[in-house]
Symmetry: C2
Subunit: 154 residues, 2 copies
Amino acid sequence: MRLTVYSDFALRLMMYLCLNHDRLSTISEVAEAYDISKAHLMKITNELGQKGLVETVRGRQGGMRLGKSASAISVGEIVRACEPDFAIVPCFEAKGAVVCVIQPACVLKRALAAATAAFLETLDGYTLADLVRPTVPLRSLLGLDSSTSGLAAH
Amino acid sequence: MRLTVYSDFALRLMMYLCLNHDRLSTISEVAEAYDISKAHLMKITNELGQKGLVETVRGRQGGMRLGKSASAISVGEIVRACEPDFAIVPCFEAKGAVVCVIQPACVLKRALAAATAAFLETLDGYTLADLVRPTVPLRSLLGLDSSTSGLAAH
Protein backbone atom coordinates (compact mmCIF):
# COMPACT_ATOMS: atom_id res chain seq x y z
CA MET A 1 0.00 0.00 0.00
CA ARG A 2 1.52 3.30 -1.10
CA LEU A 3 0.78 6.94 -1.52
CA THR A 4 1.97 8.45 -4.80
CA VAL A 5 5.21 10.40 -4.88
CA TYR A 6 3.09 13.56 -5.18
CA SER A 7 1.57 13.22 -1.71
CA ASP A 8 4.94 12.27 -0.26
CA PHE A 9 6.67 15.31 -1.76
CA ALA A 10 3.71 17.61 -0.98
CA LEU A 11 3.81 16.69 2.70
CA ARG A 12 7.52 17.36 2.85
CA LEU A 13 7.16 20.63 0.91
CA MET A 14 4.42 21.83 3.27
CA MET A 15 6.55 20.95 6.30
CA TYR A 16 9.43 22.93 4.82
CA LEU A 17 7.23 26.00 4.18
CA CYS A 18 5.93 25.75 7.72
CA LEU A 19 9.40 25.45 9.26
CA ASN A 20 10.65 28.30 7.08
CA HIS A 21 7.59 30.49 7.72
CA ASP A 22 9.55 33.68 8.40
CA ARG A 23 10.60 34.02 4.76
CA LEU A 24 9.62 32.87 1.26
CA SER A 25 10.97 29.52 0.03
CA THR A 26 11.94 28.61 -3.52
CA ILE A 27 11.35 25.30 -5.29
CA SER A 28 15.12 24.99 -5.80
CA GLU A 29 15.95 25.22 -2.11
CA VAL A 30 13.21 22.70 -1.14
CA ALA A 31 14.40 20.28 -3.85
CA GLU A 32 17.96 20.67 -2.59
CA ALA A 33 17.08 20.33 1.10
CA TYR A 34 15.30 17.00 0.56
CA ASP A 35 17.32 15.93 -2.51
CA ILE A 36 14.15 15.38 -4.54
CA SER A 37 12.96 16.20 -8.08
CA LYS A 38 12.44 19.90 -8.89
CA ALA A 39 10.07 19.01 -11.75
CA HIS A 40 7.81 17.01 -9.42
CA LEU A 41 7.86 19.84 -6.87
CA MET A 42 6.80 22.36 -9.53
CA LYS A 43 3.82 20.21 -10.49
CA ILE A 44 2.87 19.81 -6.82
CA THR A 45 3.24 23.52 -6.10
CA ASN A 46 0.77 24.29 -8.90
CA GLU A 47 -1.67 21.74 -7.53
CA LEU A 48 -1.36 23.02 -3.95
CA GLY A 49 -1.62 26.61 -5.21
CA GLN A 50 -4.91 25.86 -6.94
CA LYS A 51 -6.26 24.37 -3.73
CA GLY A 52 -5.18 27.45 -1.71
CA LEU A 53 -2.68 25.49 0.36
CA VAL A 54 0.35 27.31 -1.08
CA GLU A 55 0.66 30.98 -2.02
CA THR A 56 3.15 32.05 -4.66
CA VAL A 57 4.84 35.46 -4.84
CA ARG A 58 6.21 36.25 -8.30
CA GLY A 59 9.38 38.14 -9.16
CA ARG A 60 13.11 38.04 -8.46
CA GLN A 61 12.57 38.09 -4.69
CA GLY A 62 9.63 35.73 -5.10
CA GLY A 63 8.93 32.33 -3.70
CA MET A 64 6.19 30.52 -1.87
CA ARG A 65 4.65 30.27 1.56
CA LEU A 66 1.72 28.50 3.18
CA GLY A 67 -1.66 29.58 1.81
CA LYS A 68 -3.16 29.51 5.30
CA SER A 69 -2.18 28.90 8.91
CA ALA A 70 -0.42 25.58 9.60
CA SER A 71 -2.94 24.78 12.31
CA ALA A 72 -5.75 25.17 9.77
CA ILE A 73 -4.25 22.65 7.31
CA SER A 74 -4.84 18.97 8.01
CA VAL A 75 -2.61 16.20 6.72
CA GLY A 76 -5.73 14.64 5.18
CA GLU A 77 -6.35 17.86 3.21
CA ILE A 78 -2.85 17.73 1.73
CA VAL A 79 -3.15 14.05 0.77
CA ARG A 80 -6.61 14.55 -0.73
CA ALA A 81 -5.25 17.50 -2.77
CA CYS A 82 -2.40 15.42 -4.21
CA GLU A 83 -3.52 11.83 -4.70
CA PRO A 84 -4.86 11.56 -8.24
CA ASP A 85 -7.47 9.09 -7.00
CA PHE A 86 -8.08 6.65 -4.17
CA ALA A 87 -8.27 3.62 -6.45
CA ILE A 88 -7.15 1.17 -3.81
CA VAL A 89 -7.98 -1.59 -6.31
CA PRO A 90 -8.19 -1.20 -10.12
CA CYS A 91 -12.02 -1.28 -10.34
CA PHE A 92 -12.15 2.02 -8.37
CA GLU A 93 -10.48 3.86 -11.24
CA ALA A 94 -12.74 6.47 -12.77
CA LYS A 95 -11.80 5.57 -16.32
CA GLY A 96 -12.96 2.03 -15.66
CA ALA A 97 -10.58 0.51 -18.21
CA VAL A 98 -9.91 -2.48 -16.00
CA VAL A 99 -13.00 -4.42 -15.13
CA CYS A 100 -13.64 -7.33 -12.84
CA VAL A 101 -16.30 -9.88 -13.68
CA ILE A 102 -17.94 -9.72 -10.23
CA GLN A 103 -18.13 -5.90 -10.19
CA PRO A 104 -21.96 -5.74 -10.47
CA ALA A 105 -22.44 -7.65 -7.19
CA CYS A 106 -19.19 -6.91 -5.36
CA VAL A 107 -19.34 -6.06 -1.64
CA LEU A 108 -15.55 -5.86 -1.29
CA LYS A 109 -15.60 -2.37 -2.83
CA ARG A 110 -17.69 -1.15 0.11
CA ALA A 111 -15.20 -2.58 2.63
CA LEU A 112 -12.25 -1.00 0.83
CA ALA A 113 -14.02 2.36 0.51
CA ALA A 114 -14.75 2.33 4.26
CA ALA A 115 -11.12 1.49 5.02
CA THR A 116 -9.88 4.31 2.78
CA ALA A 117 -12.25 6.73 4.51
CA ALA A 118 -10.87 5.62 7.91
CA PHE A 119 -7.32 6.20 6.63
CA LEU A 120 -8.12 9.78 5.55
CA GLU A 121 -10.15 10.55 8.67
CA THR A 122 -7.13 9.60 10.79
CA LEU A 123 -4.95 11.98 8.76
CA ASP A 124 -7.60 14.69 9.25
CA GLY A 125 -6.80 14.45 12.95
CA TYR A 126 -3.28 15.80 12.39
CA THR A 127 -2.52 19.37 11.35
CA LEU A 128 0.59 20.61 9.61
CA ALA A 129 1.41 22.41 12.88
CA ASP A 130 1.47 19.00 14.65
CA LEU A 131 4.06 17.72 12.17
CA VAL A 132 6.61 20.42 12.90
CA ARG A 133 6.51 20.26 16.70
CA PRO A 134 10.16 19.26 17.07
CA THR A 135 10.95 22.56 15.31
CA VAL A 136 14.61 22.97 16.26
CA PRO A 137 15.83 19.51 15.11
CA LEU A 138 13.72 19.64 11.95
CA ARG A 139 15.01 23.11 11.00
CA SER A 140 18.52 21.93 11.67
CA LEU A 141 18.09 18.78 9.51
CA LEU A 142 16.78 20.93 6.66
CA GLY A 143 19.69 23.37 6.94
CA LEU A 144 17.41 26.15 8.17
CA ASP A 145 19.70 27.47 10.90
CA SER A 146 18.62 30.52 12.82
CA SER A 147 21.56 32.42 11.32
CA THR A 148 20.08 32.27 7.80
CA SER A 149 16.45 32.88 8.71
CA GLY A 150 14.91 36.29 8.31
CA LEU A 151 17.22 37.27 5.46
CA ALA A 152 14.32 37.62 3.06
CA ALA A 153 11.60 38.06 5.63
CA HIS A 154 8.28 39.52 4.57
CA MET B 1 -3.19 5.03 -2.85
CA ARG B 2 -3.18 1.40 -4.02
CA LEU B 3 -2.97 -2.12 -2.77
CA THR B 4 -0.60 -4.37 -4.71
CA VAL B 5 -1.97 -6.72 -7.33
CA TYR B 6 -1.32 -9.56 -4.85
CA SER B 7 -3.91 -8.37 -2.34
CA ASP B 8 -6.37 -7.62 -5.10
CA PHE B 9 -6.02 -11.10 -6.61
CA ALA B 10 -5.93 -12.79 -3.19
CA LEU B 11 -9.23 -11.21 -2.18
CA ARG B 12 -10.83 -12.33 -5.42
CA LEU B 13 -9.35 -15.83 -5.12
CA MET B 14 -10.65 -16.19 -1.56
CA MET B 15 -14.10 -15.02 -2.64
CA TYR B 16 -14.08 -17.63 -5.40
CA LEU B 17 -13.07 -20.41 -3.02
CA CYS B 18 -15.80 -19.34 -0.66
CA LEU B 19 -18.47 -19.22 -3.37
CA ASN B 20 -17.30 -22.59 -4.73
CA HIS B 21 -17.04 -24.18 -1.28
CA ASP B 22 -18.81 -27.39 -2.24
CA ARG B 23 -15.90 -28.57 -4.36
CA LEU B 24 -12.16 -27.98 -4.90
CA SER B 25 -11.10 -25.13 -7.20
CA THR B 26 -8.06 -25.05 -9.48
CA ILE B 27 -5.81 -22.10 -10.21
CA SER B 28 -6.69 -22.38 -13.90
CA GLU B 29 -10.42 -22.03 -13.35
CA VAL B 30 -9.97 -19.04 -10.99
CA ALA B 31 -7.61 -17.36 -13.49
CA GLU B 32 -10.13 -17.95 -16.25
CA ALA B 33 -13.16 -16.84 -14.23
CA TYR B 34 -11.59 -13.45 -13.43
CA ASP B 35 -9.39 -13.26 -16.56
CA ILE B 36 -6.27 -12.68 -14.44
CA SER B 37 -2.68 -13.98 -14.39
CA LYS B 38 -2.22 -17.67 -13.50
CA ALA B 39 1.41 -17.03 -12.47
CA HIS B 40 0.36 -14.35 -9.98
CA LEU B 41 -2.35 -16.62 -8.60
CA MET B 42 0.16 -19.43 -8.06
CA LYS B 43 2.42 -17.13 -6.08
CA ILE B 44 -0.54 -15.92 -4.02
CA THR B 45 -1.82 -19.44 -3.38
CA ASN B 46 1.56 -20.38 -1.92
CA GLU B 47 1.54 -17.31 0.29
CA LEU B 48 -2.02 -17.93 1.50
CA GLY B 49 -1.24 -21.62 1.99
CA GLN B 50 1.68 -20.79 4.28
CA LYS B 51 -0.58 -18.53 6.32
CA GLY B 52 -3.23 -21.28 6.63
CA LEU B 53 -5.80 -19.33 4.67
CA VAL B 54 -5.84 -21.78 1.75
CA GLU B 55 -5.56 -25.57 1.85
CA THR B 56 -4.21 -27.45 -1.16
CA VAL B 57 -5.10 -31.02 -2.11
CA ARG B 58 -2.54 -32.62 -4.42
CA GLY B 59 -3.18 -35.01 -7.28
CA ARG B 60 -5.18 -35.25 -10.48
CA GLN B 61 -8.46 -34.55 -8.67
CA GLY B 62 -6.67 -31.97 -6.54
CA GLY B 63 -7.27 -28.30 -6.07
CA MET B 64 -7.69 -25.83 -3.27
CA ARG B 65 -10.25 -24.74 -0.74
CA LEU B 66 -10.44 -22.32 2.18
CA GLY B 67 -8.07 -23.16 5.02
CA LYS B 68 -10.71 -22.25 7.60
CA SER B 69 -14.30 -21.08 7.81
CA ALA B 70 -15.16 -17.97 5.79
CA SER B 71 -16.63 -16.33 8.87
CA ALA B 72 -13.27 -16.82 10.66
CA ILE B 73 -11.26 -15.03 7.94
CA SER B 74 -11.21 -11.24 8.00
CA VAL B 75 -10.49 -9.09 4.99
CA GLY B 76 -7.71 -7.47 7.03
CA GLU B 77 -6.08 -10.87 7.54
CA ILE B 78 -6.01 -11.50 3.77
CA VAL B 79 -4.56 -8.06 3.01
CA ARG B 80 -1.93 -8.38 5.79
CA ALA B 81 -0.95 -11.80 4.39
CA CYS B 82 -0.42 -10.45 0.88
CA GLU B 83 0.91 -6.90 1.04
CA PRO B 84 4.71 -7.13 0.98
CA ASP B 85 4.86 -4.17 3.34
CA PHE B 86 2.81 -1.18 4.37
CA ALA B 87 5.37 1.34 3.16
CA ILE B 88 2.84 4.07 2.59
CA VAL B 89 5.82 6.38 1.96
CA PRO B 90 9.35 5.28 0.91
CA CYS B 91 10.97 5.81 4.34
CA PHE B 92 8.76 3.01 5.76
CA GLU B 93 10.52 0.44 3.58
CA ALA B 94 12.40 -2.14 5.59
CA LYS B 95 15.42 -2.06 3.35
CA GLY B 96 15.71 1.66 3.98
CA ALA B 97 17.37 2.33 0.64
CA VAL B 98 15.50 5.58 0.22
CA VAL B 99 16.14 8.04 2.99
CA CYS B 100 14.70 11.39 3.81
CA VAL B 101 16.78 14.07 5.46
CA ILE B 102 14.21 14.79 8.20
CA GLN B 103 13.73 11.10 9.11
CA PRO B 104 15.38 11.39 12.57
CA ALA B 105 12.83 13.96 13.79
CA CYS B 106 9.82 13.18 11.57
CA VAL B 107 6.35 13.11 13.15
CA LEU B 108 4.61 12.48 9.84
CA LYS B 109 5.56 8.81 10.01
CA ARG B 110 3.49 8.47 13.18
CA ALA B 111 0.44 10.02 11.49
CA LEU B 112 0.77 7.75 8.46
CA ALA B 113 1.26 4.67 10.63
CA ALA B 114 -1.89 5.52 12.60
CA ALA B 115 -3.82 6.00 9.35
CA THR B 116 -2.60 2.65 7.99
CA ALA B 117 -3.64 0.96 11.22
CA ALA B 118 -7.12 2.52 10.92
CA PHE B 119 -7.34 1.23 7.34
CA LEU B 120 -6.52 -2.34 8.39
CA GLU B 121 -8.76 -2.22 11.47
CA THR B 122 -11.69 -1.29 9.25
CA LEU B 123 -10.95 -4.29 7.02
CA ASP B 124 -10.77 -6.47 10.15
CA GLY B 125 -14.44 -5.64 10.63
CA TYR B 126 -15.40 -7.52 7.47
CA THR B 127 -15.18 -11.30 7.10
CA LEU B 128 -14.91 -13.25 3.89
CA ALA B 129 -18.45 -14.49 4.61
CA ASP B 130 -19.66 -10.85 4.50
CA LEU B 131 -18.18 -10.43 1.02
CA VAL B 132 -20.15 -13.27 -0.56
CA ARG B 133 -23.58 -12.38 0.81
CA PRO B 134 -25.14 -11.84 -2.60
CA THR B 135 -24.25 -15.49 -3.31
CA VAL B 136 -26.52 -16.18 -6.26
CA PRO B 137 -25.49 -13.21 -8.44
CA LEU B 138 -21.80 -13.66 -7.54
CA ARG B 139 -21.85 -17.39 -8.39
CA SER B 140 -23.62 -16.59 -11.63
CA LEU B 141 -21.09 -13.86 -12.58
CA LEU B 142 -18.24 -16.34 -11.94
CA GLY B 143 -19.90 -19.04 -14.03
CA LEU B 144 -20.51 -21.23 -10.99
CA ASP B 145 -24.00 -22.36 -11.89
CA SER B 146 -25.67 -24.91 -9.70
CA SER B 147 -25.59 -27.37 -12.59
CA THR B 148 -21.77 -27.59 -12.47
CA SER B 149 -21.39 -27.61 -8.70
CA GLY B 150 -20.82 -30.79 -6.81
CA LEU B 151 -19.03 -32.53 -9.70
CA ALA B 152 -15.85 -32.87 -7.70
CA ALA B 153 -17.38 -32.55 -4.28
CA HIS B 154 -15.44 -33.73 -1.24
